[in-house]
Amino acid sequence: MLDAEFFRRWMTATAASVDREAERLTALDSPIGDADHGSNLQRGFKAVIAALEKEAPQTPGAVLTLSGRQLISTVGGASGPLYGTLLRRTGKALGDAAEVDEAQLAEALRAGVDAVMTLGGAAPGDKTMIDALVPAVDALGDGFPAARTAAEQGALATTPLQARKGRASYLGERSVGHQDPGATSSALLIAGLAEAAGE
């Protein structure tokens, strides 16, 4: 079973990998975006960790809703409301249970990803974070490492795609050949799950 501590480890692991990869995320965001993805997420997850320490939420749902709230208010770019909605909606779907199992997490995460698709209007193949998140949620039934692999492959598979959402979509065909920064950071988020589980 997964308790609040597991979800805290998930956020901590994600914050650490975002910190580690911030320069790479911003570099990926330079040719097709506005070169702020790494620093924006770094600021957001730093605020998440500070809020989790200060408020010490006691349930999995509360950890994720608080984290999502922080991302919406501190990131300053489109990834804030998108990741914020992902975590908040996932957290709300988990309710106020003290512990959840992996199947409940998979179901909640699917609700979160659906909310992100509704908010941003993106579908699979649009060269967005959805291209890493949907395969990850699909693979979650096979365990966290399988989800991590699926997310990483999904992120890599965005390279030949043409962007159809966000600022990169203005570039049309020139967006082809670049890996999507949002899909890349989504893979970091999913990898954080495996790390929190010690897998």
Binding site: S73, G77, T85, G166
Partner: protein
């Protein structure tokens, strides 16, 4: 309108200067002395380009006179942040709407309409109608 409460207008841009200037422009074109509450929410709290949920929430609260708040945005994270705040439920005043309208033309239409005492639905409709004005 059965009372004198005025619809509030919030203008959200990636740039503080753009939001403030469009607010000035809209109020000016509405006849200068208009009493319509208009608040810009531009850029990040640090003064950079981007979107701040805090600035948006503060702006919406400052223009709420009980007749609803119409929020107009430029693009990208401005749109997504307002939508996320609306989905949150308690972050923005009751009866706050994201208006689907062009930013500058929609702002002018919204302020002019609100100044005439229209309700939120009419303000929203006027701002959205600005999309139909072709320039070429």
């Amino acid at each position: 309108m059965s009372d004198d409460r005025t619809v509030g207008i919030v203008l959200v841009s990636h740039s503080a200067e753009v939001a403030a200037s469009v607010a000035e422009l809209a109020k000016g074109l509405a006849g200068g002395g208009t009493s319509v509450p208009v608040a810009p929410a531009g850029g990040t709290e640090g003064g950079g380009l981007g979107t701040s949920a805090e600035l948006i929430a503060a702006a919406a609260a400052s223009v709420d006179r009980g007749a609803g708040v119409a929020v107009l945005t430029d693009l990208g994270s401005a749109v997504l942040t307002v939508k996320a705040l609306l989905a949150e439920g308690d972050e923005l005043p009751a009866n706050t709407r994201l208006v689907d309208a062009p930013f500058v033309e929609g702002a002018v239409a919204a302020v002019v309409t609100a100044a005439a005492g229209a309700d939120l639905a009419a303000v929203e409709a006027a701002a959205a109608e600005a999309y139909t004005y072709r320039k070429a």
